[in-house]
């Protein structure tokens, strides 16, 4: 089966545009957050959100087209366009029938659902506007990306929760390895709106009102809702080499499943270790582990924190731990894919940014590894875990390793 490279990255989010903007922001003390809108009943003093600063819609849509796209379609298409440009595939170099589109989202359709169904809720169902109806389908952004760039390869949308982003990478990896496509554009996006904030707060309750996020410990921390779009270009290595493209990283492996009845921390550690073993690596060869914690103490965050503490006990030289949600907020799928994008960019830069708001009760060995710095090797793991025990883990290797 073919080797698979990541050759392009696009980001639209609270840090601005591009993965370098995320890295720069994360490595400085700058905050990417904005105040929680006052008219939206902030959950507490100092509550913040991660809102996208700019969406370069005009670069990818005509004025007429812009009337037919909603925010998530615009954000995801812009991220995909950036990634294709970044990969050097924007100017006619793309094999349209051989390029797949994979999209992941957890709540993309929610805001447009409200807009479309409002006449029903107002008791005026005959006033439904058919022009807004397609936006109810959560794969519509996937279709928009395919239309905008003329991509007729395999196409799908995954919506299992935050983990869908890593699942999309895993599925794209399989499609490329199997020869079903030469290239895949993997995109994830989530948006914030007044209704999205209302739903987020309803779901996460008092976690929105806590004083601050808390990563890698057992203390409940604050969840910061966030929006953005990320896209990766994955390419079969032979296709990338043929056009002289450089790799951010190679995808070395992918594994997913669900933790069963045993302790989840140990189970997750076992999943990480098994994936490495499949690639012929041991834990001591992993330079970076990208964690999925959002700064709270939800079931999956506690399990991940425990797995990290077990890992920190004996891996030498030290693997750095990085939680991108500590500087990007809880953006479900968009931050799930950001984990992979950032890990690839960190491997290329040979450095990782620090995790902010490390919990005071996180083990010392974990806290030390969360401070960022130079990477000791060429391998990274990107980990995702859901509260129902479903996990996914991606193994990346620096492109020039």
């Amino acid at each position: 089966m073919s080797e698979v490279w990541i050759t392009g990255v696009g980001v639209v989010g609270p840090h601005g545009l591009g993965i370098d903007a995320v890295l720069e922001s994360a490595s400085s003390d700058a905050s990417a957050y904005a105040p929680w809108p006052a008219e939206q009943d902030p959950p507490g003093a100092g509550a913040v959100i991660g809102a996208a600063r700019v969406i370069p819609k005009e670069r990818f849509f005509t004025e007429r087209q812009l009337r037919q796209v909603d925010r998530v379609m615009a954000m995801s298409t812009c991220a995909a366009g950036q990634a294709l440009e970044n990969a050097g595939l924007a100017d006619g170099g793309i094999d349209r029938d051989g390029t797949a589109v994979f999209f992941a989202t957890s709540r993309a359709e929610r805001t447009s659902m409200l807009r479309f169904t409002q006449p029903i809720l107002d008791g005026k169902p005959r006033a439904l506007n058919p022009a807004n109806f397609p936006w109810m389908a959560r794969n519509i952004s996937c279709g928009q990306i395919a239309i905008r760039f003329g991509l007729r390869g395999p196409s799908t949308t995954l919506a299992s929760g935050s983990l869908a982003a890593l699942e999309a990478v895993g599925r794209a990896y399989d499609f490329l390895r199997l020869g079903r496509a030469r290239t895949a554009v993997v995109t994830a996006a989530e948006i914030l709106s007044k209704f999205a904030l209302y739903s987020f707060r309803a779901e996460h309750g008092e976690d929105c009102a806590r004083p601050a996020p808390a990563f890698f410990g057992r203390t409940p921390g604050r969840l910061i809702p966030s929006e953005g779009g990320v896209a990766l270009v994955l390419e079969r290595a032979d296709a990338a080499r043929a056009r002289g493209a450089a790799a951010y990283a190679r995808v070395r492996g992918w594994r997913c499943g669900r933790l069963g009845g045993g302790p989840w921390g140990e189970g997750l550690l076992g999943a990480w270790t098994r994936l490495l073993a499949e690639g012929g690596l041991s834990r001591s060869e992993v330079a970076l582990l990208s964690a999925c914690s959002g700064g709270g103490a939800r079931t999956h965050e506690l399990a991940e924190a425990h797995a990290l503490s077990l890992w920190a006990k004996d891996a030498d030289p030290p693997t750095l731990f990085c939680a991108p949600r500590s500087f990007s907020g809880e953006g479900e799928c968009w931050t799930g894919l950001l984990q992979a994008a950032l890990a690839a960019a960190c491997l290329r830069a040979r450095r990782a940014p620090p995790t902010r708001h490390t919990a005071h009760d996180a083990p010392q060995a974990v806290r030390e590894r969360a401070q960022g710095g130079a990477l000791s090797g060429a391998a990274a793991l990107v980990s995702g875990l859901e509260s129902d025990g479903r996990y996914g883990v991606l193994h990346l290797e620096r492109g020039d390793a």
Binding site: A100, R152, S160, A164, A202, G257, L259
Partner: protein, 409 residues
């Protein structure tokens, strides 16, 4: 690529005809249509009131619902019933051990839509903040979470939401999981509900029939929405043989494509749709001339059927008139995200029994119709290889290729 072969050893269904494969298959063979005026919500303001609801007695069966683990959302309830039937038929589960690593791939479109509407109503009306339970049930991933926890499925999983192509894609996803060795067996399919927002939406697009669904008929005027769930238990051939399971059919391959043409309309020439069909056949190692039967998407809308006819022509050419075809949507309605799974179930039953159910309500006189559309009575035929295909909003196209099980040839 791994040479693992994948077979179906268990099927389950919930439709407007009731609970179970038997009710579904007998109604298909009779040529029944489940279209009725919708009663679950006030359908009188809409241009068409037609839909195909799961019988109220099933909705009202609190004991059955509790026996299913009391799912907080209806599509998960339907899928739980269908999964139970599929697992019983396959003689596995229903609760697996951690070591079994059974996977799960589901597809859906409208699941959670009623719950999302309830949250929106609270939001607009300034009512109390919705409960965390309601918000959880409204999440797209709820059905998958419910199923994997209920059956302790510890293998890989995925939830596909490619509109009306969702659960055909999900079957393909499960096929990949098994073939690539990520697991030895998987539950595939999906459940979906007849949601007011979707009924209203398709009504506003004039896609819901005001008379009856008539796929591939010159006078066709749209579909009616159905609901329910289809479930398939898939496993490696080796696993099925070693445990002496009854093999119902072999999954040979699948194909996906995007038409990259329009957000809601199918492509005019059928080229994008044909790509998914060709990819499925290529992966299956099946030449077009070996296909005996196409379970069509067959929505009975003017443009969809015309496009599908062109896609079939493009893929099968002169072979097309010798291919048996039907549409199940005129019987059970367009079950949205669950339609692909329910149609794959019907395709497998046709392969196994050698009976192709008729397409109710159609004269089969659509312009350019090139397939041998079965209508009126079921057709007895020796069909060995079939495809089941689904097309949806966002240009999503998926197709799965299946073969009758004749032993290890």
């Amino acid at each position: 690529m791994s040479a693992r072969r994948v077979v179906a050893t268990g099927l389950g269904a919930v439709t407007a005809f009731g609970r179970g494969i038997d009710a579904y298959w007998k109604a298909l063979l009779r040529g029944d249509s489940a279209a009725r005026p919708i009663e679950r919500f006030d359908s009188t303001p809409y241009r068409s009131r037609l839909g195909a609801e799961v019988p109220p007695s099933l909705y009202a069966d609190a004991e059955l619902r509790r026996a299913c683990g009391d799912p907080a959302e209806d599509s998960a309830f339907f899928m739980a019933l269908a999964a139970d039937e599929a697992l019983r038929a396959a003689r596995v589960g229903p609760k697996f051990s951690d070591e079994d690593r059974v996977g799960c791939a589901l597809g859906m479109l409208c699941a959670g839509a009623a719950e999302q509407m309830a949250i929106a109503r609270d939001y607009l009306g300034g009512g109390p903040r919705p409960s965390a339970g309601l918000v959880t049930a409204a999440r797209p991933g709820y059905q998958l979470s419910f199923l994997v926890e209920r059956h302790n499925l510890t293998g890989p999983s995925g939830l596909i939401s490619t509109a009306c192509a969702s659960s055909t894609d999900a079957i393909g996803h499960a096929f990949d999981m098994i073939r690539l060795g990520a697991c030895d067996a998987a539950l595939a399919g999906g459940g979906d509900v007849l949601a007011e927002s979707i009924h209203g939406g398709f009504n506003s697009m004039f896609a819901i029939t005001v008379s009856s669904a008539k796929p591939f008929d010159r006078e066709r005027d749209g579909f009616f929405i159905g609901e329910g769930a289809g479930a398939l238990y898939l496993e490696t051939l080796e696993s099925a043989l070693s445990r002496g399971a009854e093999i119902l059919a072999e999954v040979l391959g699948y194909g996906l494509s995007n038409t990259a043409h329009h957000l809601t309309a199918t492509s005019e020439d059928g080229a994008g749709e044909a790509l998914a069909m060709r990819r499925a056949l290529e992966e299956a190692g099946v030449p077009p001339e070996a296909v005996d039967y196409v379970n069509t998407h067959g929505t009975a809308t003017r443009y969809n059927d015309a496009t599908e006819i062109r896609a079939v022509e493009a893929v099968f050419g002169a072979r097309a008139p010798r291919i048996l075809a039907n549409s199940n949507k005129a019987a059970i309605g367009h079950c949205m995200g669950a339609s692909g799974a329910l149609e794959a179930v019907a395709t497998i039953l046709a392969l196994k029994t050698g009976l192709v159910p008729p397409t109710p309500g159609t004269r089969g006189d659509a312009e350019g119709l090139n397939m041998d559309l079965v209508k009126g009575e079921p057709r007895r035929a020796s069909i060995r290889t079939a495809i089941s295909q689904s097309f949806g909003f966002g240009g999503a196209c998926s197709c799965v290729a299946l073969r009758r099980w004749d032993g290890e040839s």
